[in-house]
Symmetry: C2
Subunit: 326 residues, 2 copies
């Protein structure tokens, strides 16, 4: 694998510069790896995490979505020092709402920063994104990591903030919404770190790993690839077990490219997922397919369902935004 | 390489169904592989070509861009029979304008269809997209194939059509515009056809091929990868030779992901291109970066410059559209 780069030191900074060249409403903070929008209205919403998941989260900054996103090093969360600076920068007196992906390393940095920010007088509320429903084979625990479903939190909370929701109200929506989102995916090829010789996990040619993470964490099951239909079947079964759905229930569906899947494959797989959900007689008034939260050059797809228990959520999902990756 | 599919026969149809599930303004013709928009205004513009270049061209159908796009089999143009049916379907009495990528196989099918359509009384004008400036090493001819620059024709002609341009006026704009667009790219990995064991051209690990085509055609030069800066240098030199630009001239810049390049690499490379163009003192009021015209799972990037010799073109590029991949 040849990774197009100059050196590791300025990789993330170069990417962030390119983002500001391309999208006029996005700016880079002069000192920290924060991209923010000049179109902010309402309570500012901050997210962020390690890099290597592009377009997350910079692609979701814009009107009615995030106000800013912090970009750590590859697969490494931003430091609590930078998070604190970002909070100080974004807080115009009404406080800051933060969306954090549920990973131990991320939690630690955000927790520290939030405690310090509160001591300095900033009002902070936050929500953990924990949409991963894959199971840890060692102990059968639900992993609950923050995956592509996180961007539905960005969109629906961003819409609420734009429409004047208070910090407390954002927290209330977030707490309910986060429990209605479930994600599970598979990979046909692991990610490789730039300049590292080996993929992060071994996957023999023509094999599939179900339930992979976005930092090279292995899945819960590896089987030979048979067909897109079979993949869709495994995924829909897992989602059905999670939601215990009833026919006619309303869901939003998000099909996420984990990195280097072709659009053709994405479409073929979505078609299979849609047919299975139709058999279940679910109502799917919102379908989205694209590259939202990746794991560098991993090949694979994740499927997110969000149970639409509130009418406003569908309006929020349909509302246009200037965020470039939505 | 594991390609997520069921069988070759319905691969393209499944993808087209997924597109209509995801984008409510797009519909599939019941009999032919044509996707069209329900938001058509002005002279309808048709494009199309072989599949395997997604999101081209379905991603560019929408308000102020294409009215419809025909999708052939993998790397194989649509048949003249289907093109004729598409013309008959789209023509509401004002004729149809067609944008064709300059490949021999495509030209043949479109030519046949256009001749037949004209005999049936349809007014047809068309433009060839020939933005490829790479050189054929055997005879030093400029290859002039239709590459990612084609989508600038989609956008600027779509804008003109929406604003009431006649068929003749569209042809006039197209003829001038097509000569102002130049594209050149490189790959670090060739595309592989689904279920085929081998890549379409050999490229040793850590090597770069310059001037590759979008159907697995080899480049004009293969060298070991050194840095993103070096890639940018080669590309900008070739573009400079082509345009013989003067400082302060205005250009639009399009950085296109040929398939499986990561967003991080795209940004790093765009940053290097931008620095070199800044040194040349060009004015670049429009920069776009993303996945526009791919070659299945090829890894690589193409760079397109369009000399903005008409003020309207910049307005056209900045105008919002419902086309999902713009």
């Amino acid at each position: 694998m040849t990774f197009i780069m100059n050196n590791k030191q300025d990789m993330i900074t170069s990417y962030l510069h390119a983002i500001t060249y391309t999208y006029k409403h996005l700016q880079k903070h002069p000192d920290i790896p924060l991209i923010y929008t000049t179109q902010q209205t309402g309570i500012p919403i901050l997210s962020g995490g390690g890099s290597g998941h592009e377009p997350s989260h910079v692609g979701f900054i814009g009107e009615g979505m995030l106000s800013g996103a912090l970009c750590g090093s590859l697969f490494t969360p931003p430091t609590s020092t930078d998070i604190l600076k970002a909070i100080q920068f974004l807080d115009k007196g009404q406080g800051v709402f933060i969306i954090i992906k549920n990973f131990e390393a991320d939690m630690k940095q955000f927790d520290n920063a939030i405690q310090q920010a509160r001591q300095l007088g900033h009002s902070i509320k936050y929500i953990l994104s924990h949409d991963d429903i894959s199971i840890e084979p060692k102990n059968f625990h639900v992993r609950g990591r923050g995956l592509a479903g996180t961007i539905l939190l960005h969109k629906i909370l961003g819409y609420a903030a734009k429409n004047g929701a208070s910090l407390n109200h954002l927290e209330e929506i977030g707490l309910h919404l986060a429990t209605q989102i479930a994600t599970i995916g598979f990979a046909t090829k692991s990610a490789s770190l730039p300049k590292a010789a080996l993929p992060l996990f071994d996957l023999a040619e023509n094999n599939i790993s179900y339930g992979i993470g976005i930092h090279g964490e292995e899945g819960y099951k590896t089987v030979p690839f048979q067909s897109s239909e079979q993949l869709a079947n495994e995924i829909v079964n897992k989602l059905k077990l999670h939601f215990h759905w009833q026919s006619t229930e309303q869901y939003a569906l998000l099909i996420n490219n984990l990195g280097t899947t072709t659009d053709l494959e994405m479409g073929i797989f979505l078609n299979d997922i849609k047919q299975l959900l139709d058999i279940e007689a679910l109502s799917i008034p919102f379908i989205k397919m694209g590259k939202y939260m990746t794991s560098l050059d991993m090949t694979g797809i994740s499927v997110t369902l969000c149970k639409l228990t509130n009418d406003n959520w569908l309006n929020a999902l349909h509302e246009p935004t200037t965020a470039f990756a939505w």
